[in-house]
């Protein structure tokens, strides 16, 4: 088992062999005994946090069972522990809890999720309990939902091109298997449509693919969840999809655990079941809001805009759970979606995300207003892993230079448009007019496409040359003469 939560046997030999003293065993035995204790009554309830005094020594991040007076069980996690008091965050919210009647049990272990391949085709809540009519799946492996960092030497550098059938992604911001590529969107923009389209169309060319989609919804509306389910149903891929839904009216605290449960299943599918997993996480902004909420209640010192100083590390714990590993056939590709508050890309959420992920697809409201779908902004969008996954033998030999040329030309178009807005289009030089024409064609023909339209990489690249032909050949500095000969014509 690749990422079995229990410490592997091999490590036991070195890390504990010499220390396996009687004291250690006694300590462990005591902890086991104590985990059966139940405390009745808590000392303070504040938002999703519960404070309990005078407990036995409780471990940091231990799993907590919290039973309300109706006997309903809620799960929680220890956020802070000391001899005097323990702070517990209750995932299902604290609504309805009473101070004297709440019963608390510390389980002496971290939150684990029993995972199995049979979870595909099912719908769960943020903690992994079924929300459809089906029974609770029996986990084959118990895995710690917090995961463990991947050893960088164990990683395989991702280079397999994923064809999404969307020109602006395949051609300009190529998605690579094992990449984490977020969509920076705004309210009212078609990020869900694009994510669903990618999930439907993504394929590795000429390869076997046993693929799965793990969908994690944090604080999204019921309609959005339904849209995704319907979209998966219609294309018949639902049996390969596992959904973890923590919707807008669920307790906000549950959102903190939702992506972790989803990624735990993804890790199982990728590294124990050898599947290629696409993880869609929406909406990361809601996740960060919940994090801020907890941080504020705990009275932590905020950094920018009230978000906690560890927002970067916390997001990294999620985003870094992607990639490929040596000696494993599976992979995890992440497609997080976030709505930029007020379309501001320098807001802490998109900003810190951009520092962790391997590029970003940025939506532009102005383009969407002009009815261009997908409204992907040409210049700020970027795929960092693109360079190693395109070119001869992977996509087509002209791809790297063509993409670079399109970027350069489109960047100049932006300058010309700015100039034209000041001095008027008539005053522009003939060359600049040609650039304007190119810019329009690029947006209308190359970027813009139908919501069900699927273009092969060759079609995309040929389309790229087609729009480049609107420019004189002397302007093409970034492509070689051979490429001009072969493709520019």
């Amino acid at each position: 088992m690749a990422c079995n939560g229990n410490s592997g046997k091999k490590s036991t030999i070195i890390s504990t062999a010499e220390r396996e003293t009687t004291t250690t065993r006694i300590v462990e035995a005591q902890k086991r005994l104590l985990s059966g204790r139940e405390y009745i009554g808590v000392d303070r309830i504040d938002g999703p946090l519960v404070f309990i005094r005078n407990t036995h020594p409780v471990g940091y991040r231990e799993l907590v069972e919290c039973v309300d007076r109706n006997g309903h069980l809620r799960l929680g996690m220890v956020l802070e522990t000391s001899g005097e008091a323990v702070v517990v965050q209750v995932f299902e919210g604290t609504a309805g809890l009473t101070m004297p009647e709440t019963r608390i049990r510390f389980r002496g272990e971290t939150l684990k999720l029993g995972v199995t391949r049979k979870m595909l085709g099912r719908v769960f809540n943020g903690l992994g309990y079924p929300m459809d009519e089906g029974p609770l799946p029996v986990g084959e492996v118990e895995m710690d939902v917090n995961g463990r960092p991947i050893n960088p030497t164990a990683r395989e550098y991702p280079r397999d091109f994923i064809q999404t059938g969307i020109s602006v992604i395949d051609g300009m911001n190529t998605l690579i298997r094992g990449q984490k590529l977020p969509i920076f969107s705004g309210n009212g923009l078609p990020h869900n449509e694009l994510a669903a389209q990618i999930a439907r169309q993504a394929k590795i060319r000429g390869g076997e693919t046993e693929f799965a989609v793990v969908f994690s919804a944090m604080g999204v509306k019921h309609d959005v969840a339904r849209y995704f389910i319907r979209s998966f149903e219609e294309t018949g891929v639902l049996k390969n999809v596992a959904l973890f839904l923590s919707l807008a009216d669920d307790p906000s605290i549950e959102r903190l655990i939702t992506p972790r449960t989803a990624l735990t299943l993804a890790e199982h599918l990728a590294f124990n079941e050898n599947m290629h997993v696409l993880v869609i996480m929406t909406d990361m902004s809601n996740y960060c809001e919940s994090l801020r909420e907890i941080s504020t209640i705990r009275g932590e010192i905020p950094s920018r805009k009230g978000y906690p100083g560890y927002l970067y590390s916390d997001l990294a714990e999620l985003y870094e759970r992607s990639g490929m590993l040596k000696n494993y056939r599976g992979s995890i590709t992440q497609l997080p979606i976030l709505t930029m508050p007020n379309d501001d890309i320098s807001h802490p959420i998109p900003d810190l995300t951009g520092y962790i992920t391997e590029g970003q697809i940025v939506f532009e409201r102005e383009m969407y207003g002009r009815n261009i779908y997908p409204p992907v902004a040409g210049l700020p969008s970027l795929s960092r892993l693109m360079k190693d996954g395109i070119g001869e033998g992977m996509t087509r030999k002209d791809h790297p230079h063509l993409a670079s040329q399109l970027f350069a030309a489109y960047s100049y178009v932006k300058d010309v448009r700015n100039l034209a807005s000041v001095i008027g289009e008539e005053e522009l030089t003939p060359l600049d007019h040609q650039y304007l024409e190119f810019g329009d064609a690029f947006e209308r023909k190359f970027v813009s496409q139908g919501r069900d339209e699927e273009r092969t990489i060759e079609e995309t690249l040929d389309l790229g040359w087609e729009v480049l032909r609107l420019l004189p050949v002397e302007e093409l500095h970034r492509v070689t003469e051979e490429e001009i000969e072969e493709f520019y014509g």
């Binding site: 690749a2 990422c3 410490s7 091999k10 490590s11 070195i14 890390s15 220390r19 902890k31 020594p57 471990g59 940091y60 991040r61 231990e62 802070e80 522990t81 000391s82 001899g83 272990e109 971290t110 995961g147 463990r148 991947i150 050893n151 960088p152 030497t153 164990a154 990683r155 395989e156 550098y157 094992g178 590294f271 010192i301 905020p302 950094s303 920018r304 560890y310 970067y312 590390s313 990294a316 985003y319 870094e320 040596k326 320098s346 807001h347 802490p348 900003d351 951009g354 520092y355 970003q360 210049l379 700020p380 970027l382 970027f407 350069a408 960047s411 100039l419 030089t429 002397e474 500095h477």
Partner: protein
């Protein structure tokens, strides 16, 4: 020293643990927490209370767990076998850990940083009997990699007459290779010794900086050079190419040893280095680049406090090779993540924050780090240097934030990355307006003596045009380019050429990724000739359109791709062709 219990856990808050019952412990002592033995460091002592910063995930640690003291500060092991290895933030070899575990890192693992079993071929120096040795004396040499000769030094705390030196032979790092008669009796010396990471290694004296660190990146070497032993900051928002620039320098700069610290960055980036460096060949020596590189990887999802330590671990390893007489370059990517780790730990300790939640001692820490760079005379009398290239990741790309601002105070070279350039895929996106280098005067003598006598003037001339162009572009933005006379439009023209043909450099092109100093100067001279002859021609009445239509123009644009570093005569030919083209053009007008 033997492990002893120094106290017990009182409170756990993420990576910060409060301890009680601490009586017999020293500040900054390396400790281990709980029965899983998590590595930590004692960072605060007060009465019988202590605060411990833990370098691993503290899940499961409970009040009452034992804390074990090691009797020594957090230190690194220095000896042969460092080169080519990848370590985590506290010098645990990640490849060894991978062999012992699965792909996911577990806690509490203890693996020695250097291979205990590997035998090294040691060649002793010819020292006289009873020779007086002190810290830094070279005892002998080991061929560590094909290009690095490891000089075995007397560790900093040993001084006295040499009592015994082992003969040439094969030794492991645990074998005694010498004994020194010190004042406190005879002390053994091994191939490796330990050194605390937060203490700079001693030197004889600091020397002035004079040689540039040639990086092969034209915008850096020609416009904003850094000296060997210098410090530089590379700030830039996400996607502006900090890591790409760091990688390019680590690959092609002419330092003997590279220490690459991946501090709180992406896992795949370290994998990229690990897969790419062994395949790349150093153009100067013909050996794989991995044979001069040490990697420190503390990715963003690894524990935060080890991120704080990784910077010091890296710079200590660099100082060790400096002491052997090498020029070492440290790449720190990114120092902002390190500063954020400081902030997070400070917050957990409930310290009073200063700007944006950062602790008030942030500037002190930044200064301490960058001051460990320098060109030094080492204790053995050799010259060695440590240069530091620190990436900074300002939130929102805003350079007015505290980490960028404080870093700016302590570095002498600044390569500001520009979002607009990056958006236009102009890489390296080093802004020629915002960047500066205070090393210009120091390195100009080297350039003039070793490359070409006109370097300073040539550089100044092109910089002047770039400044003028900015003003002209503002005019163009208001009234359009047609309003400018040809002489001024030509400045814009020349700057565009300079940007396309010179400043922009493709890191993935086999020829363009690295440019020698001589080729850089020749390329600059060609562009300057285009500028000088062109403006003279315009004064004579030649129109701009005619100049632009010269066939040789396209060859100048592509000289970076088409002419190799070795084939400099081709550049001379190109220059002659340009000269002839202008002659022809002017002859029509005379």
């Amino acid at each position: 020293m033997k492990e002893r219990i120094i106290g017990e856990v009182k409170r756990v808050n993420g990576p910060v643990i409060e301890a009680k019952g601490v009586t017999d412990a020293m500040m900054l002592e390396l400790v281990r927490v709980g029965e899983v033995r998590l590595v930590g460091e004692l960072i605060k002592l007060e009465g019988d209370r202590g605060v411990i910063q833990v370098y691993e995930d503290t899940t499961g640690i409970a009040p009452g767990d034992n804390i074990y003291g090691s009797g020594m500060p957090l230190s690194v092991e220095l000896g042969p076998g460092l080169i080519g290895t990848i370590y985590d933030g506290i010098q645990r070899p990640l490849e060894e850990i991978y062999k012992l575990q699965d792909a996911f890192i577990q806690r509490g693992i203890q693996v020695p940083p250097l291979d205990r079993k590997k035998k090294w071929h040691f060649i002793p120096e010819n020292l006289e009997e009873r020779f007086y040795v002190k810290s830094g004396t070279i005892l002998g040499t080991i061929q560590e990699t094909e290009r690095i000769v490891h000089r075995v030094l007397i560790p900093p705390d040993v001084e006295g007459e040499i009592a015994w030196l082992s003969p040439e032979g094969e030794y492991t790092i645990e074998d005694e290779i010498a004994r020194v008669q010190t004042e406190d009796g005879e002390k053994p010396v091994f191939l490796a010794h330990r050194w605390p990471i937060r203490t700079p290694r001693p030197i004889k004296k600091r020397l002035t900086l004079s040689t540039p660190l040639i990086t092969g990146q034209r915008v850096i070497d020609t416009l904003f050079p850094i000296a060997k032993g210098g410090t530089v900051a590379i700030p830039g928002g996400f996607g502006t190419g900090k890591t790409m620039t760091e990688h390019a320098i680590a690959k092609w700069c002419d330092a003997s040893v590279i220490v690459y610290i991946g501090c709180g960055e992406r896992g795949n980036e370290m994998t990229d280095v690990l897969t790419e460096f062994p395949k790349l060949v150093d153009p100067r020596t013909g050996h794989p680049l991995m044979e001069r590189t040490i990697l420190i990887a503390n990715t963003s999802n690894m524990p935060v406090s080890a991120r704080e330590a990784s910077i010091y671990t890296g710079v200590t390893l660099a100082e060790y090779y400096r002491d052997q007489g090498y020029d070492v370059a440290v790449m720190a990517d990114s120092t902002s993540r390190w500063a954020e780790a400081l902030r997070e730990l400070s917050g957990r300790m409930e310290e009073m924050p200063a700007e944006e939640g950062f602790p008030a001692y942030l500037p002190t820490r930044i200064a301490e780090f960058y001051e460990r760079a320098g060109n030094m005379e080492t204790l053995s009398g050799k010259q060695g240097s440590v240069s530091i290239v620190g990436a900074v990741s300002p939130p929102g790309g805003d350079f007015s934030e505290p980490v960028t601002q404080h870093t700016k105070r302590f570095v002498r070279c600044f390569w500001g990355l520009d979002r607009q350039l990056a958006n236009a895929r102009h890489y390296p996106a080093i802004s020629w307006l915002e960047s500066y280098s205070e090393y210009l005067d120091e390195v100009s003598t080297w350039w003039e003596e070793n490359v070409g006598p006109n370097w300073s003037e040539d550089r100044a001339e092109i910089m002047e045009q770039l400044q003028k162009e900015v003003r002209l572009q503002q005019v163009v933005k208001l009234v359009g380019p047609d309003a400018l006379p040809d002489s001024q439009r030509f400045i814009i023209e020349v700057c565009t050429l300079f940007k396309n043909a010179f400043l922009q450099q493709n890191a993935f092109d086999d020829i363009d990724r690295y440019t020698t100093a001589l080729k850089q100067l020749k390329m600059l001279e060609i562009i300057l000739m285009y500028w000088r002859r062109g403006s003279a021609a315009i004064r004579k009445g030649v129109t701009l359109v005619k100049i632009r239509r010269m066939k040789v123009y396209q060859d100048i644009v592509k000289m970076k791709f088409n002419i190799t570093n070795e084939d400099l005569s081709a550049l001379d030919k190109l220059k002659a062709r340009l000269e002839r083209s202008f002659d022809q053009l002017e002859s029509i007008y005379e």
